[in-house]
Symmetry: none
Subunit: 193 residues, 4 copies
């Protein structure tokens, strides 16, 4: 049951790779704001049309490049307890150093273009949220989570802080941050009674 071959010259995998690589390199060197389809095409040694044939915009290219390089499946090994799971997850998730320019650029695009926002949400953000959701479900099964807590809200809080700091760059996303957020989520901010 092989994939039926279409007539004509098949899509060039070399071109695809060249485009994704060129996009990432342009982005690293000049930043997302300076990214242009022309620039990517020139750097990849490819015609502009070859890009437009397969992607709708430069953001889609970058999104593909990101997904291509990111772990498609996020492993969330069970460490036995919510605090440990959460801490491990935050540490892994917050470490976005290298990817910051890419994420920032894509978010900017998503803010300006609702159609791309959907793609960004469904093809990238969703899988991250799913990982976090799995941890919470595990904890719920263990009875570690209060029953009236909405897991989606918790996920929003985690990714909210992550993105907020990623975007404004006013506070670090290091281990201290992880443990503060973790603490805050687990205990709340109120003084223990």
């Amino acid at each position: 049951m092989t994939e039926q071959r279409r007539p004509g010259r098949p899509r060039s995998e070399a071109a695809r790779r060249a485009i994704l690589d060129a996009a990432m390199r342009e982005l690293e060197e000049h930043g997302y704001a300076a990214l242009t389809v022309q620039g990517i095409a020139a750097r990849a040694g490819v015609g502009k049309q070859t890009i437009y044939r397969w992607w709708q915009s430069k953001a889609d290219v970058v999104l593909d490049a990101l997904i291509d390089m990111a772990d498609t499946h996020i492993a969330v090994p069970d460490r036995g307890s919510l605090p440990e799971d959460l801490m491990a997850f935050l540490k892994a998730t917050f470490d976005q150093r290298g990817r910051r320019p890419v994420l920032i650029g894509l978010m900017a695009q998503a803010l300006l273009d609702p159609a791309f926002a959907r793609a960004f949400r469904d093809r990238f953000l969703a899988s991250r949220r799913a990982a976090m959701r799995k941890i919470l479900e595990r904890a719920a099964t263990r009875g570690e989570v209060a029953p009236d807590i909405d897991p989606e809200t918790v996920i929003d809080v985690v990714y909210g802080v992550l993105w907020y700091r990623l975007m404004l760059n006013h506070a670090p996303l290091d281990e201290t941050a992880s443990s503060q957020i973790s603490d805050l989520l687990l205990r709340g901010i109120t003084r223990d009674r």
Copy 2:
């Protein structure tokens, strides 16, 4: 100690207002992505140079317009207890319905332009954070907050969720959201022991 008058024709307040108004109206009608300096100038009945003379980019215009229309000083009346203060603040803060396009556009710009990001942070976001900080300080004075809690992290959580939902538009920013966040912050997510 009077403000020394500069020589030459003074800046036209009428033009300033017309530009800010035109920017907001263009934004409401066509969205931030379609906003152009030419469009603002045309709508305001103003030369483009008059815009470039006083603002560095369309984002700066919109930022000024936003600040102009937003309450410069955010009132945070003391309701007596942290839970009540927090709930009131969240309800007021989350109600950004009308401003969403403006905020989204400005954040997009901030992500693309570090110089503007600074202005956005210092001239707009800072005052919002200050309001939240005041509430936390008040609560700390009352002994309502655990001593090892970093108020800046709490602020990041609150505004993190706000922005995350504002940007992704995947979950409401209504009263239910407010109380969930409030609950979560006050008690943590762990089942009471």
Copy 3:
């Protein structure tokens, strides 16, 4: 020895024609001073870049349009004697009625832009001077011209008067003018001894 074809989409002849035509029509209707690249592009239904890709300035466009419409090769049939040749040439040359705005505009540009002046001289004026030169050479062969006369000076006189009257518009360029110039050149102004 065929012209090697370059890769990519070939230049659009339709666009070239549309641009030249639009330039001439704009010029006829509004005059050279009001001619703008934007206007030509709009009238031709063409992007501005398509003009800038092939011409350096609006003057170059007009020069091409003029050369395109002018007889590239000026016929100077041999009428047998210098007086007859000269009179025929002057009558033909002085009849610039329709072209006056074009010529005036190009000369203005040439006066303001030395680079264009060169192009104007070499690509347009030179061929006109060559025609006159041929007549004088023919007359010299016949022994009709005094041997110490510099033909270039004579050419300068003819075209000098032509341009001077064309520019100042203070005297006609009609048949009377032709015969006066012709007379003057042939006999000089001194009373016959």
Copy 4:
């Protein structure tokens, strides 16, 4: 019958001079094409309005500057015979070395702006033509000119060559040129019978 004094502050002669001087200096340094009213005003330490109050355009300023510096009255001393008068006149007239940029610029403006063309003709060119006309009249009185020669045509020939060479810069305006033109005018180009 003295010029009735108008009330209010009188026109500043210092400003007038500064403007004319600044215009000439700008012109010498950067050429007519780069001349701007703003530039003249800045260089002269004068407000733009002070220029527009007294002149209609930069060309009018330059024209005034030219007239100011040129000999208002052109002396044409009677040397006794047409050949000597003519030669002296041509030598003096052709020597426009320093003034070339000014004359070229003004002519360019005249070609683009009919209103200025009139001013240029009446306020500058006319007096030059008058000088030449006087010489021809003198010669006519002496019986040196053929009776059917139109002096205006002769003047056009002289100034035609002058301007043609001045504008195209393809041939010198030196003494050789003067004597060639003089010869040609006096004897015609035909071989002596």
